[in-house]
């Protein structure tokens, strides 16, 4: 599966084509204030910038800046209604990240299976007894 890189056109919020990369999504999620905004949008379902400023306690330029990053990572989507822009959560960004990065326990399960495969089939190792119980060859 190929990954699309960030396209030049990210201003069309309704585009069906995914332009966000997994790295963008992970960077977007890696900032505590952006995670806070996602949590607020989860509770409120849809909010304007002003509502998010009030609910979060952040300043308006900061909220706008974070929302832009979240929108470019397809973690939020925007609906324009007259003078107001209404933000809501968008699952596409997370889908991108999940496709790239296997789930936490899948990674460990895979590692343990590979490790077991390595050690359980290793007939070349000399140690079947600990050194202090290994008996000397009589010569």
């Amino acid at each position: 599966m190929t990954r699309t890189r960030l396209g030049a056109n990210t201003s069309d919020e309704h585009t069906a084509e995914r332009t966000e990369t997994a790295e963008q999504v992970l960077d977007a999620l890696g900032e505590r204030n952006r995670r806070r905004l996602l949590e607020l949008l989860h509770v409120q379902r849809e909010s304007t910038v002003t509502e998010l400023v009030e609910a979060s306690g952040m300043r308006q330029p900061q909220v706008s800046k974070h929302l832009k990053v979240l929108a470019e990572a397809a973690l939020v989507r925007v609906r324009a209604d007259g003078r107001h822009r209404h933000y809501r959560l968008d699952g596409r960004g997370l889908q991108t990240a999940h496709e790239w990065f296997g789930s936490f326990d899948d990674v460990w399960q895979a590692r343990f299976d590979a490790l077991d495969d390595l050690v359980a089939n290793d007939d070349s190792a000399p140690e079947r007894a600990t050194p202090d119980t290994r008996s000397q060859d009589p010569t």
């Binding site: 990954r3 069906a16 990369t21 997994a22 790295e23 992970l26 999620l29 890696g30 900032e31 505590r32 204030n33 995670r35 996602l38 949590e39 949008l41 989860h42 379902r45 973690l75 809501r88 959560l89 968008d90 699952g91 596409r92 997370l94 990240a97 999940h98 790239w100 990065f101 296997g102 789930s103 936490f104 326990d105 899948d106 990674v107 460990w108 399960q109 895979a110 590692r111 343990f112 299976d113 590979a114 490790l115 077991d116 495969d117 390595l118 050690v119 359980a120 290793d122 190792a125 140690e127 079947r128 600990t130």
Partner: protein
């Protein structure tokens, strides 16, 4: 005598796979793993600490095309380990570790920093403990406990632990899937 085809039989691969338990704490700040391996503790200890072995199993589960470009390990108290993996389309993941306790072949303690991309490790480390206990004939019960640091610095917290990152992804996934419109 247990049937050799029993799923609980640790002498079979399926039996050992069935022993795996991986649990993430509710707050995502720690996780524990348990697994039986089909070799004695000394062999399993080596698999966790020798580069030739690590290169074989550590990349498992990473995106296809991933490659381990660096793998070094000095499993003594105060010794360090360093892994680097390049992920196609993403960049590099880097692990920097220091062994703080080594009791061969029974136990390993380490502090570890995880860095996405280039950059120096910073902030508090993840603390890990691995134990290897002989069980049955020639098998090992491994336990792994990993404690991740509190997010003092939100900008670097996500970089400090791939597991922390994935746990946050899971949390966000839950939030978003309950709210997002179907496309």
């Amino acid at each position: 005598m247990t049937s050799p085809n029993s799923p609980a039989d640790p002498s079979t691969l399926d039996g050992r796979r069935a022993t795996a338990k991986i649990e993430l704490s509710d707050d995502g700040s720690s996780y524990s793993c348990v697994r039986v391996f089909g070799a004695p503790p000394e062999r399993v200890f080596r698999a966790f600490t020798e580069p030739d072995d690590l290169r074989v199993w550590f990349p498992a589960g990473a995106p296809e095309g991933s490659e381990m470009t660096t793998c070094e390990s000095d499993p003594v108290i105060g010794g360090e380990y360093r892994y680097a993996m390049t992920i196609p389309g993403f960049g590099s993941m880097n692990w920097y570790g220091t062994y703080t306790g080594v009791d061969r072949p029974t136990r390993i303690d380490a502090e570890e920093w995880f860095v996405m991309g280039d950059g120096e490790p910073e902030g508090p480390p993840t603390r890990q403990t691995l134990t290897f206990e002989p069980i049955d004939a020639g098998h090992t019960l491994m336990t792994m406990q990993v404690d991740m640091p509190a997010p003092e610095d939100p900008e670097t917290f996500m970089e400090q632990s791939a597991s922390g990152l994935t746990s946050s992804l899971s949390t966000m996934d839950e939030l978003v899937s309950r709210s997002a419109d179907p496309a």
